[in-house]
Assembly symmetry: C3
C-alpha cells in the first residue's frame, strides 16, 4: 500500500481543464494546494459555495479561489471559478487532492484462496482475506484486509471493497462498485414461518445482485433473497448502517441515507431519495422520483412522484410535546363538544325562525 | 468448504413425504428442481401462495406445482400441494434445495487457539479465527472465517456462527444457535455515572446468555449485563442491525425485526413481535403476546397482550404533513374557540329561556 | 491474554478506601466477593440503590451491604455504604471485581506491520491485525484480534481498541479512548453531487479526530470529513450502532445512546444527552446542555438548553392510534365546523341584540 502519485499543487487553469460550463474570473495561474471551507480555507486553498447557509462566509474568505454560481460571483472577493453546478465542479477539482492510500501489492501471501478461482493478475488482495471456492475476481478488483468472499461470488472490474467486508456465497457484484468496511452482503433474509407456536426457518435460496457503480457505506446489512434475488440496480448509493431486507429491489440512481431500514420484498423506483432513518414496510412499492423525508414510516405503496412524510413533525420542547400528545388524544372529546354546539345552535335558530 | 450433498431434483411425493396435513392434487410424480415465485417460476419449479397480495399471479403461473391453502386450491391451474399452512410447508420443501456451502474441513491451520480449550473433534473453524483461553466448543460447532471467540466462552452443539462475528469473554451460547456475520455479542453495556460533571465508566460485570435455537442477524450488537446477564431465551429470532442493551431479557419465541433498539434493563415477554426500527425504553417490561408495530416508541410498560403503536401515523405528502403539524400545534387555540362558543351559547339560551 | 491479577474478595473498608463523601453504617470488615442486584444479590455481594423503581427490593435484600443515599439509609436492612452519589460509588467499587481479560502478550507474530511505524514497546496487538504504513501507537495501546489500522493513523497512550475495529487512514485517536468491536472510523462521508442526472462522488478529504477519554460502542460508523475533520471532543460517549456523518462535531461530555443517526455537518454542544434512535438533520447546530428524548427527529437548530422532543408521542393501542391518525387528518374539517358555528352565533347574537 502506498499513497497515489499526485502533484501537491495545481494552477486554477489545470484544475478546471476539461470541465464544461466553468469559467475563471481572476487569475488562472493562481496556485492551489488543497481544498478548504469558505470559513476556514487557508490562502492556498480552494473553497466552494452552494448551500446558502454558508454564504455569510463568502465576503471574508481567505481562500485563494472560490467555486461559485453565476449569481454569487459578483460578491466573491477572490478568484472565482464560476460554474452552473458548483458542488459538481468542486467534486471534480477535489479529486486532484484525494489521498486515500491504495493497495498495489498484488495478493498478500496470507490470503487463503479456495479451489477453482479465477483471479485476474491485476487484482490486489490485502492480508488475511479468505476467498471461497469458484470465485471470480476481474481486472483491478481491490479487496481490503480481512475481507471474506464466499463461494461462487463474482466481482467485476474496477470494484473496490474495503477491509472486513463479508460477501456471502453466490453474490454478484458489478463494475466500479465501492463497498466500505464492516458491510455484510448476502446473509439470510429474516424468513420465519410460525407452525404450532414455533418458528420454522424458511431457507433463503436467492442471492444478491449489486449492479455497476453502486456505492455501499459502512456496517450495512443486505440480505439475500428468499427465492429471487435482492437487487441494487446501477448507481444506487447507500450511506452507513442501512438494512436491506430480502427480495428488495432498488431502482437505479436511488440514494439512501444512513440508518434506513427497508423490509423484505419492498420495491423502490429510480431516482428516489430516502432520508436518514426512514423505514419502509415490506411488500410495498414506491414509484420513480419519490423523496421520503428523514425518519418517515413508509407504510403503503406510493404511486405518484413527490415528497412524502409520515405522522406529524415539528421539534418542540418536551413540555409542549406532552401537551400536544394529550390534546391529540382528547381530540374526540373536542369533536363531541362541537357536535353538541351544532345541534344546540340549530335548535336555537329553528326556535328563532319559527 | 464444499456444497452440501443434495439431489438436484425430487418428485412432489418425495418433497411432501412425512409432512402432516398436506395433500397433493395432481401428479405426485411431477419432478421439481427448485423453487420460484408464483409470478416468475420456471416450469420445473414449485411456488407457494400465502400473502393475498400475490394471488393475482396464481391463474397464470408457469410453476410445476403450487403450495396452496384448501380455499385457494380450486383456482390452482397446475399441480397443487394443499396445506393448512402453505408457508410452513414451503419452508420444509425449500430446505431440499438449500445450497448454502458448509465448512467440513476441521480446524484451519491458521486458527489461533488459547490455553485450556475443549474443542470437540467434530468442530469446524475457518481461517484466521482467534479462540481465547478456556473456551468450550461442543459437537458440530461451526465458526466462519475471521470469527473471534473470547475467553471462557462456551458454545453448545450444532451451533453455527458465520464469518467475522465477535463473541466477548464469558458469553454462553446454546444449541442450534445461528449467528450471522458482523454481529458483536458481549461488548460493554452503556453504563455511565456522572460525577462532578464528568462521566465515570460503570464496569459491566454480567455476561450474555443466548439460549437454544436462537437466530441472530448480521451486524447486531448485544451488550453484556451490568451485574446480571443479558438473556435471549430459547427460539428468540433477531433480524439485522438490532441493538440489545445491557440486562435486557427477551422471552422465548419473540421475533424482532431489523433496526430495533432495546434500551438497558427492558424485559420482553414470550411470543412477542417487534416491528422494524421500533425503540424500547429502558427499565420497562412488556408482557407476553404483544405486537409492536414498526417504528413505534415503546415508552412505558405494557401489561396486556395486544397490538401497540405510538404517536400518529399515516403516510402523507410532505405538504399535508406540514399542515397537520401546524394544525396540531394550533389545537389549543381551537379548543379555546370552542370554549368561547360554549359560553356564548349557554348565555344565549339562558337569555332565551328567561 | 490472561485475566487481570485481582483479589477475589475485599472488606467494605478496602472497597471504600479513598472514596469521598462515603460513610459505612455497619461493619467495615464485612467481606465482599462480588456485586449483585438488590433483588438477586447473594449474601457475600454488594448491591446499590439509585433508581426508585428498585427501592421495593431493599427491605428483603440478601446482599452483605448496599450502597445507598442518606435518605434511603434508614431503611437499609444490612450494612450500608452511604454515598451522596450511590451510582458513582458503585462504579468505583465494582471496578474491583471487573474481570475483563486483557492482552499482555506484546505483538502477536501474525500481525502485519507497514513501513515506518512507531510502535511503543509496551503496545499489545492481537493476532491477525494489520497496521498500515506510518502508524504511531503510543504507550500501552491495546489492539484486539483482527483490527485494521490504516496508514498514518496515530493512537495515543492507554487507548484500547477491541477486536475487528476498522480505523481508516489519517484518523487521530487520543488517550484513554475505548472502542468496541465492529466499529468503523473514517470511512467516506456520503458526499454525492448530482450532475446531469447522475451521481458524482465527492472526494472526502478530511479525517476523524477522536479526543481523549472518548468511548465508542460496537458496530458504529463514523465518517471522515469532506474537507475539515469529523471531531468527537473529549469525554464524548457513544453507545452501539451510532452513525456519525461527515464533518459532524460533538462537544465534550456529550453522551449519545444506541441507534442514533447524526447527518453530515451537524454540530452538537457540550454536555448534551441524545436519546436512543434519535435522528439529527445535517447542517444544524445544538447548543450545550440540550437533552433530546429517544426517537426524536431534530429538524432544526436548537439555541436554548432544555429538553426537546418531536411530533406527538404516547404509546397507545394500534386501534386508538388509527383513530388518532384519522382524527388528526380530519382536524381541518373540525376547524371549518367551528368557523361556521362562530359566524352563525355571531349573526344570532346580532339579531338578538338588534
Amino acid at each position: 500500500m502506498k499513497p497515489q502519485q499526485k502533484k501537491s499543487q495545481y494552477t486554477l487553469a489545470e484544475l478546471t481543464n476539461g470541465l464544461d460550463e466553468v469559467t475563471i474570473l481572476g487569475d488562472p495561474q493562481c496556485v492551489i494546494s488543497g481544498v478548504g471551507t469558505l470559513k476556514q480555507a487557508a490562502p492556498n486553498q480552494i473553497a466552494f459555495l452552494m448551500n446558502p447557509l454558508y454564504k455569510k462566509y463568502l465576503a471574508n474568505t481567505q481562500a485563494a479561489a472560490v467555486i461559485v454560481s453565476q449569481s454569487d460571483a459578483p460578491e466573491c472577493p477572490v478568484n472565482a471559478v464560476i460554474s452552473r453546478d458548483p458542488y459538481y465542479t468542486y467534486a471534480k477539482i477535489a479529486a486532484y487532492f484525494a489521498d486515500k492510500p491504495i493497495f498495489n501489492a498484488g495478493i498478500h501471501p496470507t490470503v487463503v484462496v479456495g479451489a477453482n478461482c479465477e483471479i485476474d493478475a491485476t487484482v490486489c488482495i490485502g492480508p488475511y482475506c479468505v476467498i471461497g471456492d469458484n470465485v471470480k475476481l476481474a481486472r483491478n478488483v481491490i479487496l481490503g484486509p480481512g475481507t471474506i468472499i464466499g463461494e461462487r461470488v463474482t466481482i467485476d472490474e474496477d470494484t473496490s471493497i474495503d477491509a472486513k467486508v463479508i460477501i456471502y456465497y453466490d453474490v454478484k457484484i458489478g463494475k466500479r462498485v465501492q463497498i466500505f468496511s464492516g458491510t455484510v452482503i448476502g446473509s439470510d433474509g429474516f424468513g420465519l414461518a410460525k407452525h404450532k407456536g414455533q418458528w420454522q426457518k424458511v431457507p433463503q435460496l436467492g442471492s444478491v445482485i449489486i449492479e455497476d457503480d453502486v456505492e455501499i457505506g459502512a456496517n450495512c446489512a443486505i440480505d439475500r433473497g428468499a427465492i429471487e434475488d435482492t437487487v441494487l440496480e446501477r448507481c444506487v448509493k447507500l450511506d452507513n448502517l442501512v438494512q436491506i431486507g430480502h427480495n428488495v429491489r432498488i431502482g437505479e440512481n436511488t440514494a439512501i441515507a444512513g440508518c434506513v431500514g427497508i423490509a423484505g420484498s419492498a420495491t423502490i423506483g429510480k431516482n428516489c431519495l430516502i432520508g436518514g432513518a426512514a423505514g419502509l414496510n415490506g411488500h410495498i412499492s414506491i414509484t420513480d422520483n419519490v423523496m421520503i423525508t428523514g425518519m418517515t414510516a413508509v407504510t403503503k405503496t406510493i404511486k405518484e412522484a413527490g415528497v412524502y412524510s409520515s405522522g406529524v413533525g415539528g421539534l418542540v420542547t418536551n413540555l409542549e410535546w406532552r401537551k400536544s400528545s394529550a390534546r391529540l388524544h382528547r381530540l374526540e372529546q373536542l369533536n363531541q363538544r362541537v357536535k353538541v354546539l351544532e345541534s344546540l345552535l340549530e335548535e336555537l335558530i329553528e326556535r328563532k325562525d319559527s
